[in-house]
Symmetry: C2
Subunit: 386 residues, 2 copies
């Protein structure tokens, strides 16, 4: 799957150590340099990110399990060139038995396969004044079947020390963000890391991980936004203090501005999406539908919470009607919904909203935050009925 031919990666300095700060500060910034884009038009750099980091084409919501090549992608830095024979996973830090494992070692451990709905923490960002980052509208969600070994078993084999507070997961992807050279790193608390459903995954939809999804190994943390499911995983470190790396304390925060530490982005909020009905106009993606009975179909999900209700509006949110729910694709995956619409000629705006078993509903007008995180505003689909 991965062909290692090609250039040697340039070896960057260790993470957290700035490279000649006066020089790194020379790096150009998107737009006016504020880190924000406030109006309805987009910068070239946002488009450049959108061309790398693909979303789920909405008609692909038809598949209960997203075909691999249609799964959304957020590649933080570059896809690293990994030579499987050189790769290993290290489990180190505050453990009694540090481990060093090959892919073969991992595949000899007990394996489970589980459908998981993953969503990017920045999904919905571009529907509001936003961070100069990946300009997601609503399409950063997909469901794959991941195969791997439960993280818990590996951590028990390593012997976690009593003073352990968090586990730090380090990927092989390197880059610069916020003026800091870094490998991509995220942490989980002991309690979260030891949950049954957290996997070290080497296969996706029955095949070895493709390069863009973390070959040869990635973390999969069901229920959490995707930034937690570290790709190209190479090291797990047990630490005695909360980890303060860039992707924990600076990025992935619900914050008002750069001075506000805010709150961390964690579990996936409820959302429902609709397969746009009929046929598209090429450029605008406005839908053209023939009058009559139109089957509306889609998916809804809410991280760990179950979806209890999906409602449809065909009159711009003035009134709502319940959709019929299908069984979830898995305990931590989306469920289908269906609603038949009697479409009359004219222009219509369709909306769909989800509510969890705890009664948490998607908002029509969700609160803004500086980084554009977790914006689960209800989807709208413009339709011309002829």
């Amino acid at each position: 799957m991965t062909d290692p031919r090609g250039p040697e990666p340039v070896r960057p300095p260790p993470p957290g150590r700035p490279v000649e700060p006066a020089t790194i500060e020379d790096l150009p910034q998107v737009g006016d340099g504020s880190g924000q884009v406030a109006d309805a038009r987009f910068e070239r750099e946002e488009v450049q990110l959108a061309l790398r980091n693909r979303g789920l084409p909405l008609e692909a919501l038809r598949y209960p399990i997203t075909p691999t090549g249609l799964h959304y992608l957020l590649i933080h830095f570059d896809i690293p060139a990994v030579t499987p024979d050189d790769w290993h996973l290290t489990v180190a830090g505050r453990v009694s038995s540090p481990l060093r494992l090959t892919v073969g070692d991992l595949q000899s451990l007990p394996a489970v396969t589980m459908p998981v709905t993953l969503e990017c923490g920045g999904n919905g960002r571009a529907l509001l004044p936003r961070a100069a980052s990946q300009p997601w509208l609503v399409e950063a969600v997909s469901t794959a079947e991941w195969t791997g070994t439960p993280l818990r078993g590996l951590l028990e084999a390593a012997g976690l020390a009593d003073e352990l507070v968090e586990l730090v997961f380090t990927g092989l992807d390197w880059g610069v963000q916020g003026g800091e050279v870094q490998a991509y790193q995220r942490s989980l608390t002991r309690e979260e890391a030891l949950r049954d459903e957290v996997l070290l995954a080497w296969a996706m939809n029955g095949e070895p991980l493709p390069p863009q999804h973390g070959f040869p190994l990635r973390l999969v943390v069901p229920g959490w936004y995707g930034m937690t499911s570290v790709k190209w995983l190479t090291e797990i470190t047990s630490v005695a203090q909360p980890f303060t790396g860039y992707q924990m304390t600076e990025s992935y925060r619900y914050a008002r501005d750069t001075d506000d530490p805010g709150e961390p982005v964690t579990l996936i909020k409820p959302r429902a999406l609709m397969i746009p009905p009929g046929i598209p106009d090429f450029a605008m993606r406005t839908r053209v539908v023939q009058a009559g009975r139109v089957p509306l179909r889609g998916r809804a999900w809410a991280g760990r919470a179950g979806i209890a209700r999906v409602e449809i509006s065909t009159d711009q949110g003035a009134s709502w009607a319940d959709a019929e729910l299908e069984p979830p694709v898995g305990p931590l995956a989306w469920r289908g919904w269906r609603y038949d619409w009697d479409a009359r000629p004219g222009r219509h705006t369709l909306s769909v909203r989800a509510t969890t078993a705890d009664g948490v509903a998607q908002l029509i007008d969700p609160p803004w935050n500086f980084q554009g995180m977790g914006n689960n505003v209800v989807q709208t689909v413009d339709v011309l009925v002829v």
Copy 2:
């Protein structure tokens, strides 16, 4: 691979027949409605297209054969829901023996496997004032190994009539473009259609076609820009006059404006691309490289023409040096190139340009055209050496 569950596609009217023109004219237009975006910022609808139609992340130029999930995509309308058991290919029109074939029928014919570099006709569009369409920068190119049966054999079995002028290829994807409801359709002359390398492909990189690449069957026309390689192919029609469908006479033209018929977009022009060296800044993708010897690597291609030369500039085009060429990945696929750069601290702009065996070179300043077609301007990569 394709799961047919999900909504029934709404059945649109036959192509070419406008649906209540007064109503279809109500469809909203991108931006100011001129069909053009003239400045450096982008419309939301362009971003929406970029999120559906992914490019090759440039680091994936490292793979001689692009992994399937990284291959660029241009899905003109929607990915159709195809039920393989219901699908068949019809060969009709001016033939002595009309054919109707299943996937199994096709797979019983002689098969060949061939690496082919495909590139979107609109690649480079967003580097100039542009059509309100998919906003490609430089990344709409990839190379896959396609497996299928030569079209020529099938056409000989059908018995082409003497008065045949063109073959029309019809896909299962429907939509509206230029106010016209249409299935995606393209044609080839008899001479082009009968070339040895034209395939009816059912596999990509050794697997059945994924939905987004045309499952269960697509045309692959090596050397031509990608619009010719019709996906979700369902019908081949032999006609006695040049085909005048929208995608031939209105779209994919080198034209000055909407009144200019212009010239058709046909074969892929020469281009070279570089794997951006070092590590990226997250938002801008500016590269950070350590001073010293930096291996620059990439690929070059030119449709049917061979690549004879690749040159590198590390001084914003003031001077050029020859890169070393690797053998082509196949007769109709890209070839690798390599050049070692002695990088000194500071800001640099790297460029790469290709020249064909016929002496046709990429231009620094290529001519503009209304639809943003075939803009093979040389790539530039901004690098900060520390």
